[in-house]
Amino acid sequence: MPNLWQRRKVVNVAMLSLTAVFTVATIGILLFILGYLFWNGARSLNWNFFTKLPVPVGETGGGMANAIVGSAKVLALATLIGVPIGFLGGVYLSEFGGKSFSSVVRYMTDLLNGVPSIVIGIFAYALIVLRMKHFSAFAGGFALGIMMIPIALRSTEEFLHSVPVALREGAMALGASKSQAILTVVIPAAVRGIVSGIMLDLARVAGETAPLLFTALSNQFWSPGWNHPVATLPVFIFTYAISPYPDWHQQAWAAGFVLLTLVLVVNVIARLFLSKGFSHAPR
């Protein structure tokens, strides 16, 4: 009998320590990724990276200025397409939605969120690139915009829903119509959360590569407009990383460092910005 009790105690301590080890290992991987990229990326980074165009293999001193601007363009387009639909859809679910239609919308939103990014790329290709007969920044922005909708929608809904009913009732008791109450009381009360949700959303699609491969394509030069192929940071990281040239690998590390820094800084700011504190960010 005492033997059994000993064994149970040992199993208890062993298994519980193992769960701690798993947690530490997971966080260790994050710290390793951060450390390695910062060490390797910062070394390869210099002023040229931000100001110069890419140079052919063998020459030194090139940069990725066009990819930085290109990423900004594509992300701006994505925000213009994805955020309004997501935001308004979220307002509908939280303020107007009936029971059954809303749950269909919620379910479809979650499914859309789970559609692989490469499939969204095919969708944008079929809808835009095939019609216009060429790759463009617009098609890339459209693909990322579609990817932004689900999180923008669900986080808007969640934060609007957390606004107390008393606020709405107060506004209406003062004579405001439902839309006035929503526009002037409910949305302002939730604006912090909604903005943080959209920032997280943007950070997520900023690193997306797959949907851009055959929508925005890439470009070694400045893109002359919205209707032409455009270079983006994630696509450059991919093409440079799989190339056989050590110079390009260094550039890929530098680009990876810049991209990761941007994504993580936006993530941290958005999560701190949430009044709730650290946890409970929308996925």
Partner: protein
């Protein structure tokens, strides 16, 4: 909500002249938001329809044989999805095999053992890991993970388990094995953060009753808490599986891009997402393109089914899934 609508009507009745304008504004806002919400349904359906229409050529030519044909030969216009299905399923299964114990274990630690503040901070860090772009995982996979595997892990594995057919043959770095490990690292954060929430939703009384009966902390977790939360945990695993199946960049960079079906994990392979990423812009001819789009359709259906099941499972356990899925 009913109360606010009643109030709203009251306000309108009290001020008839102003109400027409504000009532109209309400309708506009309603129409606009309704259209956006309906737009989401439309977009999701349209994705399916676009994939379906644009793959018509390949579907008519190959029928269901597409799924079991092992040949992928663009030169002779013979296309079969089997090597890619195989690669996708094997890498995802291997990733789950590694990630599930680690993810659920870490979730147990965060939900049951760690003090709430520490737990929140650690979860915050783990969610940052989930935010790392997949192309960065690919970059590290090529230049860090593969050299480590080549130098230490695979020689050790081969000396102990080399007799197994899954560890046969030469190892060139890029392989199903490497892709599975990268995928495992990428999906662990999802398993942890969803499972943790599911575990936190388990009623406290259950734990107290079990501990009160003399069970140890681990026995309580293993025999009471986890069985209670098992559907939600399964949901988190399905969610992670759907991610792994559709993951593109990191896999493309380390899987080796060779369309073969072999027993060995150490051999290079190919996945559905990777072949689309690599060959889509080079696809010459309508049949080729249409075969790639049909691969996209297969991937879409696969992830939708698994995602749908995951959402239902999580919804069934946490009960709050309606809003926070």
């Amino acid at each position: 909500m009913a109360a606010t609508t009643a109030l709203h009507r009251g306000a309108r009745a009290g001020a008839p002249s102003a109400s027409r304008r504000t009532g109209l504004a309400s309708h506009w806002l309603y129409a606009l938001t309704f259209l956006s919400a309906a737009g989401v349904i439309l977009i999701t359906c349209l994705i399916f329809l676009q994939l379906y229409w644009n793959s018509a050529l390949a579907r008519q030519k190959f029928g269901w044989h597409f799924l079991v044909t092992e040949v992928w030969d663009p030169v002779n216009s013979v296309f079969g999805a089997l090597p890619f299905l195989f690669g996708t399923v094997v890498t995802s299964a291997f990733a789950l095999f590694l990630a599930v114990p680690i993810g659920v274990g870490a979730a147990v630690f965060l939900a049951e053992l760690a003090p709430r503040k520490t737990s929140n901070l650690l979860t915050f860090l783990i969610e940052l890991l989930a935010a790392v772009p997949s192309v960065i995982f690919g970059l590290l996979g090529i230049f860090v993970l593969i050299p480590i595997l080549q130098q230490f892990v695979v020689p050790a594995l081969k000396s102990v388990l080399g007799f197994l057919p899954i560890f046969e043959g030469a190892f060139y770095g890029v392989s199903l094995f490497s892709a599975g490990i990268v995928l495992a690292i990428m999906i662990v954060p999802f398993i942890i953060s969803v499972s943790r929430e599911v575990l936190l939703a388990v009623p406290r009384d259950l734990r107290e009753a079990s501990l009160g009966l003399g069970a140890t902390m681990w026995e309580t977790t293993w025999k009471v808490v986890i069985p209670f939360a098992k559907r939600g945990i399964l949901g988190s695993i399905f969610l992670a599986l759907a991610r792994a199946l559709g993951e593109t960049m990191a896999v493309t960079m380390v899987i080796g891009n060779t369309p073969h079906v072999q027993a060995s994990l150490l051999a290079p392979g190919y996945s559905i997402a990777a072949v689309i990423a690599n060959e889509f812009t080079e696809a010459t001819g309508d049949l080729y393109l249409s075969a790639l789009i049909e691969l996209g359709l297969v991937l879409f259906v696969l992830t939708i089914v698994i995602n749908g099941a995951a959402r239902l499972l999580i919804l069934a356990t946490t009960g709050k899934g309606e809003r926070h899925a």
